[in-house]
């Protein structure tokens, strides 16, 4: 019985490690937005805050910047520099931040 509990705990630990690495990658990716949009997406003004934005809304916006559907001064140029997987991680990170 004990064996199963330990094995169960070991199995649980694997996705946790992966999640921690994803979190680190997401945090670093999101930090590339902070120069303009504020630390962790909390803008001090003049540029849209990203903290607490709904994940699917941010993914949609970034994809519209990429396709050109959404007009922009600079975001259409920057959004094209990230892969869809990176955009997903970035949007997930900001969605989890307090406004």
């Amino acid at each position: 019985m004990k064996f199963f509990i330990i094995a169960g705990a070991a199995l649980m630990a694997l996705p946790l490690v992966a999640a921690a690495q994803d979190m680190g990658a997401a945090r670093s990716l999101a930090a590339t937005c902070a120069n303009c949009h504020g630390t962790d997406g909390r803008s001090v003004g003049g540029i849209e805050p990203l903290a607490g934005m709904d994940k699917s809304e941010m993914v949609r916006k970034l994809n519209e910047f990429r396709s050109g559907a959404k007009p922009a001064t600079v975001m259409h140029q920057l959004a094209k520099g990230y892969t869809p997987q990176q955009i997903d991680l970035i949007a997930g990170y900001f969605a989890a931040q307090k406004k």
């Binding site: 680190g24 990658a25 945090r27 670093s28 990716l29 930090a31 590339t32 902070a34 120069n35 303009c36 949009h37 504020g38 630390t39 803008s43 001090v44 003004g45 003049g46 540029i47 001064t73 600079v74 140029q77 920057l78 959004a79 094209k80 520099g81 990230y82 990176q86």
Partner: protein
């Protein structure tokens, strides 16, 4: 004779604010932190790295050594020269970093001993480190321009923001209407590729308003405008017709402060205000620490960690580095490097592999008047084949046209990046 500074002495150096923030930091209450990172320089690289190290891993002790008591930003300093912003608007203090638990030491590092893992301070004593971040910005190769050393009381570069920024503004204010402002630009690479062209625009904007018979004369060592060329040239034609004379392939080789003239290989040119920007290299401490790898000027690093390619355990940030392909020497770029570096140091100190695929971006806004702005932007991703970061093809670009909307974004960019460094 050196002594290693203990915690009590360090707290005294870092000042009361530092001590208070430390006392309030549970991770360091027992005096046993995971590791100590010393950061040399409190600019775009050093301040960002210090803040993000503490934010992402409060168990790491961070000591930042900065010789100035306040930060003055190079980005936006051309607006002070043009009379559109005050110097106080582009300054920030270090108290925000102290609140993050960064120990800010107002001193200058005079030597690095990487074998002993110590740095020496000008006011005496040493600091030990587990990892060292060197973010010294640039220093100047004055010797490459004959006569510059002797002319420095009259000829300014204003290529480090601070007293020279204010000094150049005063010279422009004192100049008679009908005078000539002469700007000399060194061969690339230099700090802030669009910076000289923004400065020309700012001075022309001031002349148009206050001294309309005056002239902006530019001697550029480069063959042509090195950044956002068509956008700058259009702005000069449309906003300042007849006021600007731009000469490419015109490298200044000597300066005569008493005759108020400069010489190129072709002729001698006089000006009423001489603003000569000298060739640049990594800051002095990078030279002393043996970090220079290229052309006696720049420090090559591994962009996955920003660790020096020649001295292990030392990371170099910002304008002092040998830029990767398509990477400008800019404050924005440096802020991004600092975050890659902070994440990598946290991983390395924790015995983990650093992120193998760093991403960095750049956005440089240039004010062509008091309100209108143009930008250049890029995204840089790791390329395993080339073992460096390279600009993503099809991404990035420049403004479609100058605009007041980007003027608002440009100033907001400054507020947000300064908050990202110091708040």
């Amino acid at each position: 004779m050196t002594m290693d500074l203990n915690r009590r002495q360090l707290l005294k150096l870092a000042g009361a604010a530092g001590a208070l923030s430390l006392a309030g930091c549970a991770g360091m209450g027992g005096g046993a932190s995971k590791a100590r990172v010393v950061v040399i320089g409190g600019g775009y690289g050093g301040a960002t790295a210090a803040r993000y190290l503490r934010m992402w891993d409060p168990a790491i002790e961070v000591v930042m050594v900065e010789r100035e008591s306040m930060f003055t930003s190079c980005p936006m300093s051309n607006l002070v020269i043009g009379g559109n912003r005050s110097i106080d608007e582009i300054r920030r203090g270090y108290d925000g970093l102290r609140r993050h638990g960064v120990q800010v030491v107002n001193d200058e590092v005079t030597a690095v001993d990487n074998a002993k893992k110590t740095v020496s301070l000008a006011r005496g004593g040493t600091l030990t480190y587990d990892r060292l971040i060197v973010s010294p910005g640039i220093d100047f190769n004055f010797g490459e321009i004959e006569g510059y050393q002797a002319a420095q009381d009259r000829v300014l570069h204003a290529w480090k923001a601070g007293p020279q920024t204010v000094g150049l503004r005063r010279q422009l204010e004192a100049m008679k209407d009908g005078g000539v402002y002469l700007l000399a630009i060194p061969l690339a690479p230099y700090r802030c590729p669009p910076g000289p062209y923004e400065r020309m625009s700012q001075v022309a904007h001031y002349f148009k308003r206050a001294k309309p018979r005056s002239k902006v004369l530019v001697l550029d060592a480069n063959p042509d405008v090195t950044s956002k060329g068509p956008l700058f040239k259009r702005a000069w034609q449309e906003l300042y017709p007849g006021m600007i004379e731009y000469r490419g392939n015109s490298k200044v080789v000597s300066v005569d402060g008493s005759a108020m003239a400069v010489r190129t290989d072709f002729d001698t040119v006089r000006g009423d205000v001489l603003n000569v920007v000298p060739p640049q290299r990594a800051g002095d401490i990078a030279v002393k620490a043996g970090l220079i790898t290229h052309n006696n000027r720049w420090c090559d690093v591994d962009w996955r960690t920003c660790e020096s390619k020649t001295v292990k355990g030392i990371h170099v940030l910002g304008d002092a580095t040998l830029s990767a392909p398509g990477m400008p020497k800019s404050g924005h770029m440096t802020n991004q490097q600092a975050k890659v570096c902070a994440a990598a140091i946290i991983a390395l100190l924790g015995g983990r592999e650093p992120n193998p695929q760093p991403v960095m971006t750049n956005t440089c806004y240039s004010f062509v008047s008091d309100t209108e702005v143009i930008h250049v932007a890029s995204v840089h991703q790791w390329d395993a084949g080339q073992a460096t970061v390279v600009p993503v093809k099809g991404a990035g670009g420049v403004s479609a046209a100058r605009s007041e909307l980007e003027g608002k974004y440009g100033w907001a960019w400054a507020q947000n990046i300064w908050a990202d460094m110091f708040a």
